[in-house]
Symmetry: C2
Subunit: 458 residues, 2 copies
């Protein structure tokens, strides 16, 4: 049985025999008995297994090292030790041996060392917590949207549309780099490639999401996303997961309501279903994490305009590295100040159009767009969204102004012609959410096998 099920209802199993399979996390052997710290990875809790010389293979058991896979049958009993329960083993069978040089020993390893052991690090308590939490948070997202009548859409990753700026997208090919076919102009003949065209991996599902929102009213995507950014920071990875909901008949205020409601749901879901994992992170990653999350669930999210944000920043008694300016982007230090100023999450709306995307709805002032970023304490920008431009002609004009190749996205623009109502959507980087939920500060530590410039190992 799974340890998770055992612990869920352990009183029921008291004085009964159960059989469990898992791994030795620690082992103390005495002359006539021994203690095994046992985990099967289904929950954060470990079980202490006690065995003694009455077992036929006592001598062999004593030799088992950390990392060994074992199957144990034994009786659940009350413990006299620190833990409430333990197992009195009746049978311990070795399933998979583990040598002394197993890199994951029961001691503190640095995160840098563990990144080099990416295929083994999920066996540590820290990464058990992080990746189980990651799984539970993913489920929270699905349950939120499914229970609110959203349709989950698998938007394509392969695309021939070059509307995001092809320098930010990976090119994809089946051609042989050392034997590329050339056309009459001695350029590489992409007509010979699998899709007869230059093809990319897209960095967003939004465009396709909008097409589905115009059919199903409320949709969301949740899938991997790629950026070619050559940036080695704590917050950048070349492959990450993103959630992109898109909602018809929803304006910017409605969008903020949804973002706030969704985030609170996810946090509460994790507090309920991943409490042990969060407790672990509170203890070993960020003291005060649980308090911060509990506070968020009850918080009222503030809503200010970009102009109001700049007002506040300009009035602040702070020596900025980047001077805050109307009409310009805000820096990480500004985000941090604002969440501290409001002592909670802040929506910043109505951004200068020149620093935002071409498909965002132009406000009546002609200078700002109906965009919104959500800033949260500790993690900065967690979501970015906007009401979408629903006027066909304005959209085409903005696209041209910003150098978008309109021909490759004509279908997207046409959505405005065929019953295209007002609608809004946002994107949330899943890793940023996990960073927020765990207090872990490096994106490399919340992705199972991170891909960053120069690093695509495992």
């Amino acid at each position: 049985m799974d340890l998770k099920d055992l612990f869920k209802d352990i009183d029921k199993y008291l004085d009964n025999n159960v059989t469990i399979s898992g791994w030795i996390k620690n082992h103390r052997d005495q002359k006539t008995f021994g203690f095994i710290d046992f985990s099967d990875g289904t929950c954060q809790d470990h079980l202490q297994i006690v065995y003694d010389e009455s077992l036929a293979n006592f001598k062999e058991i004593q030799k088992l090292l950390v990392g060994c896979a074992i199957e144990v049958t034994g009786k659940i009993i009350k413990s006299s030790g620190r833990q409430a329960y333990e197992m009195q083993a009746q049978n311990i069978k070795l399933l998979g041996d583990c040598p002394e040089d197993f890199p994951i020993q029961p001691k503190r390893h640095t995160k840098e060392f563990l990144r080099e052991q990416a295929y083994l690090r999920p066996r540590t308590n820290l990464f058990q917590a992080i990746f189980r939490l990651r799984s539970i948070a993913a489920q929270a997202i699905h349950e939120y949207f499914q229970s609110h009548n959203y349709v989950y859409v698998h938007t394509p990753l392969l695309t021939t549309a070059d509307c995001e700026g092809s320098d930010q997208m990976f090119k994809v090919t089946t051609l042989d780099f050392n034997n590329l076919p050339l056309d009459e102009n001695k350029k590489v003949d992409m007509k010979k490639d699998l899709f007869n065209k230059l093809t990319f991996i897209t960095g967003t599902g939004q465009l396709h999401g909008e097409a589905f929102a115009m059919a199903f009213k409320k949709i969301y995507t949740f899938g991997p996303t790629f950026r070619t950014e050559k940036s080695n920071t704590k917050t950048h990875a070349n492959e990450f997961w993103m959630i992109e909901p898109e909602i018809a008949f929803c304006d910017l205020n409605g969008l903020m309501d949804i973002e706030e409601d969704m985030l609170k749901f996810i946090v509460q879901y994790c507090l309920d279903k991943a409490h042990k994992e969060l407790e672990f992170c509170d203890k070993f990653v960020e003291n005060g994490l649980l308090e911060r999350l509990n506070k968020l669930v009850k918080a009222k999210f503030n809503r200010i305009t970009h102009n109001e944000a700049i007002d506040i920043l300009k009035k602040a008694d702070v020596k900025w590295e980047f001077t805050p300016e109307y009409g310009e982007d805000i820096a990480k230090e500004h985000e941090k100040y604002l969440t501290e100023y409001f002592n909670g999450p802040v929506f910043i709306t109505n951004w200068p159009k020149d620093i935002k995307a071409w498909y965002m709805k132009l406000n009546d002032d002609g200078k700002t767009v109906a965009a919104v970023d959500l800033e949260v304490p500790g993690a900065g920008e967690l979501m970015g969204g906007s009401q979408r431009e629903d006027d066909y002609h304005k959209l085409i004009q903005r696209a041209k102004e910003l150098g978008v190749d309109v021909d490759t996205v004509d279908w997207f623009c046409n959505l405005r012609k065929y019953g295209g109502a007002y609608h809004s959507g946002f994107g949330m980087g899943f890793e940023r959410l996990i960073i927020y939920l765990t207090g872990v500060d490096n994106i490399r530590d919340v992705i199972p096998f991170p891909r960053t410039p120069g690093s695509c190992d495992f």
Copy 2:
């Protein structure tokens, strides 16, 4: 409000006013009144809206064409027509106009025509049913695994490991095709690429999944997958979604138990939560679909070996296109015969090692591997899995025999050294499941924006 919520509890709303937003699916206007067939895409059911000349903008409403987005406030009343309820409109507001040349008119369109309108086809009843079902089936999968203590793992798509045969994988690059850097041997210098190496999009998450199964006991992946196959058939696409569970302490029989249990859960979940969608498919796609699915939930899945399958095929009074042979693969016609022979799903186990992958567990006979394919009536092979080779030396030997570059997957092989117990896993193509659940016969019609050779539009 959403139409789905309205219909869920419509009696509660009887004689009350509600406001809904959605699209005109059909419109019959008479001299003094009119009927609008209305849908908002949140459920398969439409609502009939009745309006009359008492509305101030009656003349404008009469002109509204199919495809228009509208917001309607009105009273829910019992209908004297075919449907049980309808809405008596008090206010109809145009939100998004739609011209006469809107391609999706209320008539039968061919699927080929609709593929050319991939961004609009989700507005048809058929694609409403398919893509809503797809979303619900995805949720069924998540709920099954999460409720059984599995950890959802986002395995990476980008990889530098070349163990699947690089000719089957897309190459990924940030280099400029027309200005490729060369090394001293005049070969393209992949060290100049973002990851300093030749990089691919992987076709499986299994290897990484195994690493996580050795930490969390039970894991699953659910994400996009890519193949470069230049094959234009009804069942092949270059981008599709796959589910790959991997379970420690699980042998081949245990794996079959899980596959059977999971499939029945998914089908029952869809019968419960997507009944209207399945009813629609039963009526317009495959007569008898509901009966077939209801039968599956109660079926006992048969389990035979590959040898036994060949026995049955050889005895069959059928003129085969491909003669069934011991030690060889079985063809589509054989799969079909076997599911008809057993009148239900069949697991075929213990396949000839030469036609299966290098990481599958070699049986004691030295000739077969502990692999299993699940064949289902109507869709053929739905899942393929195996117990994994857990002996380090046997694994390395098989890898070398099959020409796998062991150096690029040394970490995967090392899993056998460090507490690597017996374990099993399978893969299920998500589109194949949707084909099975809807009766739709072409993979292009169950993927939102399909990618096939020469076709990467939208």
